[in-house]
């Protein structure tokens, strides 16, 4: 505990840095995955192709991907932007499949009703199919966010910032308290973000609660 109280400013800085690396990929990844998932869901071939490519990308170990992106994209090799891009790639790879599954699980009756009420494809997607996909997409998003928060620490091995620096620094200087503090903080961040996403998901789907209560009374 002595180490923690003596290093509060450092811990605060590293935590903020960590969130700066971990959270934008989740948001960007979600924004990219929705249209891609929609496209994947339109044809069987597109679906197979997208899911296989996503699976392949998700297979690549994070440390390798951090190093492989610069030659592929022309970024500088130790530029922090590589971490953000790599984590975005993982988020998209995970969510494309989730979005496609969620969209395909929307009952056809509902989609047809919307069409019959005069909804065009775009409006139907935004007002009917996407909202009904929220519970499944949020579940995927929670997994992506938690993985992202945990994976940022790997970047510390090749000199990127965030809470992972407490692992490399604690290891090199032999301060177990620093390492443990880092692990606890990463777990806490993951828990908090996971909980917030759960709440956002509930907030976005008020009909789910109505349905549950109605079901119980009926």
């Amino acid at each position: 505990m002595g180490w923690v109280s003596g290093n509060l400013p450092l811990i605060g800085d590293l935590t903020l840095q960590h969130l700066y690396f971990a959270l934008p990929p989740v948001v960007i990844g979600l924004v990219l995955a929705i249209p891609l998932g929609w496209l994947a869901n339109r044809t069987r071939v597109g679906r197979t192709f997208t899911i296989n490519v996503a699976g392949l990308l998700y297979t690549i170990p994070s440390l390798a991907l951090f190093v492989l992106l610069p030659p592929l994209l022309g970024t500088r090799i130790l530029d922090p932007i590589n971490v953000i891009i790599a984590l975005t790639v993982y988020t998209v790879a995970l969510l494309v499949r989730t979005v496609a599954d969620a969209l395909s699980a929307v009952p056809p009756v509902v989609v047809n009703s919307a069409t019959a009420m005069g909804y065009g494809p775009l409006r139907r997607f935004a007002a009917v199919e996407l909202p009904l996909s929220v519970p499944v997409v949020v579940a995927g998003l929670r997994v992506a966010a938690v993985s992202s928060i945990s994976l940022v620490t790997v970047g510390a091995v090749i000199g990127f910032g965030g809470l992972g620096q407490m692992f490399t620094d604690g290891f090199q200087r032999g301060i177990p308290a620093e390492i443990v503090t880092g692990i606890v903080l990463v777990l806490l961040l993951a828990l908090v973000v996971d909980g917030l996403l759960l709440l956002v998901g509930r907030f976005l789907t008020p009909w789910d609660r109505v349905g549950r209560t109605a079901g119980r009374s009926a």
């Binding site: 392949l56 390798a64 492989l68 395909s104 407490m166 692992f167 177990p176």
Partner: protein, 237 residues
């Protein structure tokens, strides 16, 4: 293309720090870890799935693992055990157990109860049911647990080069130390190829060991979850 010349340079393919040795080391750590994890996880997962006790803990453990920073676990354990094989392998086993445990548990738990009843009706005892019916039926999920476990270990063994383990991660860490970027990139290419190859192998393993009678099952189930008619019907309407 410096990376290409790094990979094609014969000097990098021989000696105790050459690519073949590092590759074999990496595969060796992965096999050792996964075998230990199997010995621990399959019996426990099968028992929990068979009795239905403690399932909540298994699922929680597998989910919690996603949040656990692998680098933190590695440096914490190696800091305690000192450099060498014991520390990193212990950390790798800790990371490898939950996916196999969850896969075995879910596999045994989800065996059609009619199948289990039929086995009992034929006079099979609890142990026979578990070994002869539940485990073979659980194989697809056990193998997918092994699959994520192997990927996790290949990935973390790369990071373990930071705590002086051998394997392909050495090219990334050693390359960084002398700012030899082609070496780092070559190492990353090899790690990525190894991971993809391992993943494809498991797809093959799945085909090889899973009973043909089970193979047909996921098809219809998947069709129901993803009705192929949905988009077309919607567009027609």
């Amino acid at each position: 293309m410096n990376v290409f010349s790094y990979l094609t340079d014969p000097a990098h393919w021989t000696g105790s720090q050459g690519i073949p040795v590092r590759l074999v080391e990496h595969i060796g750590y992965t096999l050792l870890t996964v075998v230990i994890a199997l010995v621990i996880a399959v019996p426990i997962g099968a028992w929990i799935g068979h009795t239905g006790r403690g399932g909540f803990a298994v699922v929680g453990l597998a989910n919690g693992l996603r949040a656990l920073p692998t680098l933190g676990l590695l440096v914490l354990i190696v800091g305690a055990t000192g450099l060498g094989l014991l520390g990193p392998i212990t950390a790798l086993v800790i990371l490898a157990v939950p996916p196999i445990l969850a896969g075995t548990y879910a596999g045994v738990r989800n065996v059609d109860s009619a199948v289990v009843d039929a086995a009992r009706g034929m006079g099979m005892r609890g142990r026979e049911v578990l070994l002869g019916v539940e485990l073979p039926n659980a194989l697809p999920l056990i193998i997918s647990g092994i699959r994520s476990s192997v990927l996790q270990v290949i990935s973390t063994a790369t990071i373990a080069a930071y705590v002086a383990l051998g394997g392909l991660g050495r090219f990334i860490i050693d390359g960084l130390a002398v700012r030899d970027f082609p070496q780092m990139i070559a190492g990353s290419v090899l790690v990525a190829l190894l991971a993809v190859a391992a993943d494809l192998r498991h797809a093959g393993l799945q085909k090889l060991v899973v009973s043909p009678g089970l193979r047909a099952a996921p098809g219809p189930r998947r069709l129901r979850a993803v009705p192929s008619k949905t988009p077309d019907a919607a567009h027609a309407a």
